[in-house]
Symmetry: C2
Subunit: 325 residues, 2 copies
């Protein structure tokens, strides 16, 4: 299942409207097929892995990060039917598919065909891998990652506006990697007009994975009609294509998304420098007391990137999200 | 030597004008004596360890974090003489004593008495344990630790001034432990007048180790003549007693010490919260470009304290310190 999860990650940011899924088929202790959801969501991971395995799938075990789908669509066959036809011996799914067209029906169809099934394996990791899909399904909006790059004292620039560079090349390369995992990237109008950022992915081999550029601007339009896309407020992200939105700056856009309680994941890149009296990372976010600030964020990862530290926080499970307005 | 270093740490903040030193005497593989510099600097670590070892010191190895002193003072005998008289077989010193009254003479006297000597063992740790002593010797001022306790976005309070609590009880207890390791603790006049902080050590058993309170205030006097002490600018710390100064806040005092380039060690306690638009940890610190901000601080330790993170930075070896003015 670990290998299947790693394969699932390959599709992140490109499989919408489908979730990024991974599949590994094992026969007699050897991997005979590997698959992951392809761009735009088809073929599914199981179809790709079965195609690779061919006849060797017979009697094998398929590990898949999401319950195989039970519904035939104009875009492809039902994976449960493919697995039955390939006569696999056993299917292990990390989690059930909450899509109402499947929702248990995939595993049921396998079981009805005499295939052993199991689920509930590495559930948290599987959910994390599909966070965009699950957020879209549950909340009707993309999963939102906010990036902040600051000094130790929380500044994103000197008072003069000088901001190049706070973090080093390793941290900046990591930001580009994160961009490649999102369908859309957003900056505020101030950042857009001041910097005209390219917001692309400048990493060898990943250049084609640049996300769609979006500007948050209360006053439409920006000028050119089609590029970038423009939304007038954070709740309007429901209209954006894709299941993953990367909010990259500046302080105004970051604060607007936090005020709207529309940030699911926080990437905090910190350089070991002090600026003093610089431009703060955030403006007012509507906090009414310090007590309200606690318990909202959980540290899920941290790592060294050159001389900088990356900390990844996620919205705490118990945290409230305000209702859409 | 590791055990000797741990013993040395016991004296930190109480041994001025002497450095905190640790000593372990080992005979036939067993520890027969342990000592560390006592409050106000006497007895020395070696004297305490030899007293414990008694006759068992004969032929034993003494591990000491600093070269034994060669000079007799009105306050006590020379440790080199004590070791010779005890007829130890071997003395291992972590580092030489830069005090001009010793500076190699201690080890030389031991060698002249036929005692085997060695030095240069765990040098960096030994120097770190004596940072206050070495700073006073080299720069004529105490070693300065600056404490900052912030949110992830670098705030020390909400815009309203609300600052209780950003960090949790574990982090606050750690601050009290750090206080106990310093002879003096400083806050700015604004913090003093707003909060009337006790600045004591509220940890069981360490209550007597509260540092001397000092207020940074351009306008003298504060009122009561003797408590707290008052200095009018950061360079005036040369007049403070003790070799360790803890600068605890607020932003004005922190910024003044950073502007004067008089911070040797930075304790950054960070709570996993976002405040947004709050009071920044620092005001202007005289930074003229981002390039000048880099390379000044090196992360030397980090740890989890409840839900908070502590990061310890030290002045980088290559960093410049401005001349006293």
């Amino acid at each position: 299942m670990g290998a299947a999860l790693a394969l699932a990650a390959r599709g992140r940011g490109r499989t919408s409207p489908n979730p990024p899924v991974g599949c590994v088929i094992v026969s007699d202790g050897a991997v005979v097929g590997r698959g992951w959801t392809q761009p735009s969501g088809r073929p599914h991971a199981e179809a790709m892995a079965l195609a690779e395995a061919g006849e060797r799938a017979r009697g094998a075990t398929a590990y898949v990060t999401l319950e195989p789908c039970a519904h035939v669509s104009p875009r492809g066959p039902a994976c449960a039917d493919l697995l039955v036809a390939a006569r696999v011996g056993r299917v292990v799914a990390a989690v059930g598919d909450p899509d109402p067209r499947t929702n248990g029906a995939g595993l049921a169809r396998l079981a009805a065909a005499g295939i052993a099934t199991a689920s509930g394996v590495r559930v948290d990791e599987a959910r994390a891998a599909m966070a965009g899909f699950l957020t879209r399904l549950a909340k009707g909006r993309p999963h939102v990652t906010l990036k902040l790059a600051t000094s130790l004292d929380g500044c994103i620039a000197r008072a003069s506006g000088e901001s190049r560079w706070i973090t080093g090349p390793e941290a900046r390369a990591h930001v580009h990697l994160e961009r490649s995992r999102h369908e859309a990237i957003l900056v505020g109008r101030g950042t857009w007009e001041a910097d005209h950022p390219r917001l692309d992915v400048r990493l060898p081999g990943l250049e084609p994975r640049a996300p769609r550029r979006v500007v948050l601007s209360g006053t439409l339009p920006l000028g050119r009609a089609d590029e970038p896309a423009v939304i007038d407020s954070p709740p309007a992200i429901t209209s954006l294509p894709g299941d993953h939105l990367f909010v990259e700056g500046g302080a105004g856009a970051a604060s607007a998304f936090l005020t709207a309680d529309l940030v699911d994941r926080l990437l905090l890149y910190r350089a070991p420098i002090l600026i003093g009296g610089g431009r703060p990372a955030l403006g007012d976010i509507g906090l009414e007391s310090l007590a309200d600030a606690h318990g909202r964020w959980t540290l899920v990862d941290s790592r060294q990137l050159g001389s900088d530290r990356l900390e990844v926080y996620e919205r705490s499970q118990c945290s409230r999200e305000s209702s859409p307005t």
